[in-house]
């Protein structure tokens, strides 16, 4: 995988959200530009990645979970955005995540539909353009983390870059959160009700198990779901929200072969029309029923 090609999120009001994301620094490409996004508007980063805003009556944004999208901007542009958000009376949260590389990136807010946006700073100097430079990372939830790891590593060929919840160090750090001394992003920590009577305290703070995968120049976060949620219908393989992963044509064919060998229901490869920004896509759901699109963007 070379990186994230696009991210599709659900919003209830296309015009309002298009204006909001343009104000952040995305370039709008207008309506119905990406394949299989329903009634949508797409926007573009400086790096050529896309953000698809797909219209939905009940956007699946999962704000209380680890699910979020992270976009890269320059430090000075982030300050400007901070002021714009304040003017719109949108709170900026400064909670943290566990990845060491996100040390400077405790900057989160919610769009109108509860999609959590993180802004990470780039080392690049600002050229005054105010543009969103790239999609840095995106996170999804799964109800079975071992199966998810097996899928992303063995079938999609990604590598685990960072894990949280496997070590005592993470448990010790979670105690800080439990004491109110460290503000952590949703999905990274949880309160566990002990089922034994041996513990003096019935409720203890724990890290919520999750890991991050390196996907080319992007990162994917996979969080353990702490509640069961309704999955899309089993037969539905194309949907939103979804994450698009960029590959070469050869890698796409190899991936389709592996997916079919492992009996994952796959839709495609679908060759898109000559006017589409994507040449060919394969649609599949990960073990957490998250929609994925493995695709070859048009040059």
């Amino acid at each position: 995988m070379e990186g994230i090609s696009h991210v599709v999120i659900e919003v209830s009001d296309l015009n309002r959200s298009e204006e909001f994301y343009r104000e952040l620094g995305f370039e709008s490409l207008g309506p119905d530009h990406l394949p299989e996004c329903g009634h949508h508007v797409s926007l573009r980063t400086a790096s050529g990645q896309w953000l698809g805003l797909s219209e939905s009556l009940e956007p699946r944004s999962l704000p209380e979970t680890g699910v979020h999208q992270a976009y890269r901007v320059t430090a000075s542009d982030r300050d400007v955005i901070g002021r714009k958000l304040a003017a719109r009376q949108i709170d900026v949260h400064t909670h943290k995540e566990d990845r060491p590389s996100e040390e400077q990136d405790n900057f989160y807010f919610y769009d109108f539909d509860g999609n959590r946006v993180q802004l990470v700073v780039s080392n690049a100097e600002s050229n005054g353009s105010g543009k969103v430079l790239a999609i840095d990372h995106a996170a999804v939830e799964c109800h079975d983390l071992e199966w998810a790891e097996d899928f992303y590593v063995k079938v999609l060929g990604l590598a685990v870059e960072h894990r949280v919840g496997w070590s005592t160090a993470d448990y010790v750090r979670a105690q800080l959160w439990g004491e109110g001394k460290e503000d952590m992003a949703p999905g990274t920590r949880r309160w566990d009700q002990r089922y034994t009577v041996m513990e003096q305290k019935r409720r203890i703070p724990r890290p919520n198990t999750h890991f991050f995968l390196r996907a080319g120049d992007s990162v994917l976060g996979i969080y353990l779901a702490t509640q069961h949620r309704q999955e899309p219908p089993e037969k539905q393989i194309i949907g939103a929200p979804r994450i698009g992963l960029r590959v070469s044509r050869r890698a796409l064919d190899e991936t389709v072969k592996l997916l079919k060998e492992r009996r994952f229901p796959v839709h495609g490869p679908v060759e898109h029309s000559a006017s589409s920004p994507i040449v060919v896509s394969v649609y599949v759901k990960d073990p957490g029923a998250n929609f994925l699109e493995i695709c070859v963007p048009r040059d």
């Binding site: 983390l145 496997w166 070590s167 198990t209």
Partner: protein
């Protein structure tokens, strides 16, 4: 009074489950057993993270404690409290294994000779990354048959 019928498993605490799994699999030749707290149902029930490794006929559960355990000194390879897990290899593989440990820069004490009349032949003593004491030995009675415990899973 309990008249236990067999060993089921034992559990040790490790500071990093992944590191411990790799150690027990690479160094001792274990295979991975079940793991807990990687599914939503485990999270809902407030279960702690633990895994297990299977060493031939032995189930060793690996628990992740909430606080760091006191580590024994670097150069101490046998437990102050005497607790350790000892695993048997056949005599003709013992030297090769000792060399492999050296090759992986795992510090150990030994080989230590046991008395002629003891069922043990020679032992080497070392630690896992979390300071748990381990021993590998060959036994003089290696021809004898031992009853194998029934492996139950964790989970």
């Amino acid at each position: 009074m309990a008249d236990v019928e067999s060993l089921s498993h034992s559990a040790i605490c490790v500071h990093d489950l992944r590191e411990a799994e790799e150690f027990y699999c690479d160094v001792l030749g274990a295979t991975l057993g079940g793991r807990v707290n990687f599914k939503t149902d485990d999270a809902i029930r407030g279960r702690s993270v633990h895994g297990s490794v299977i060493l031939e006929d032995y189930l060793l559960a690996l628990m992740v404690p909430r606080n760091f355990m006191p580590m024994p000194p670097e150069d101490q390879h046998r437990g102050a409290h005497g607790f350790r897990h000892a695993f048997r290899v056949s005599r003709n593989r013992f030297d090769e294994i000792t060399n492999q440990l050296k090759g992986r820069n795992i510090a150990f004490e030994g080989p230590v000779e046991h008395p002629e009349k003891s069922p043990f032949g020679q032992s080497i003593y070392f630690k896992d990354p979390s300071g748990n004491f381990l021993e590998i030995l060959w036994r003089r009675d290696e021809e004898a048959n031992y009853p194998k415990p029934y492996i139950t899973g964790v989970g």
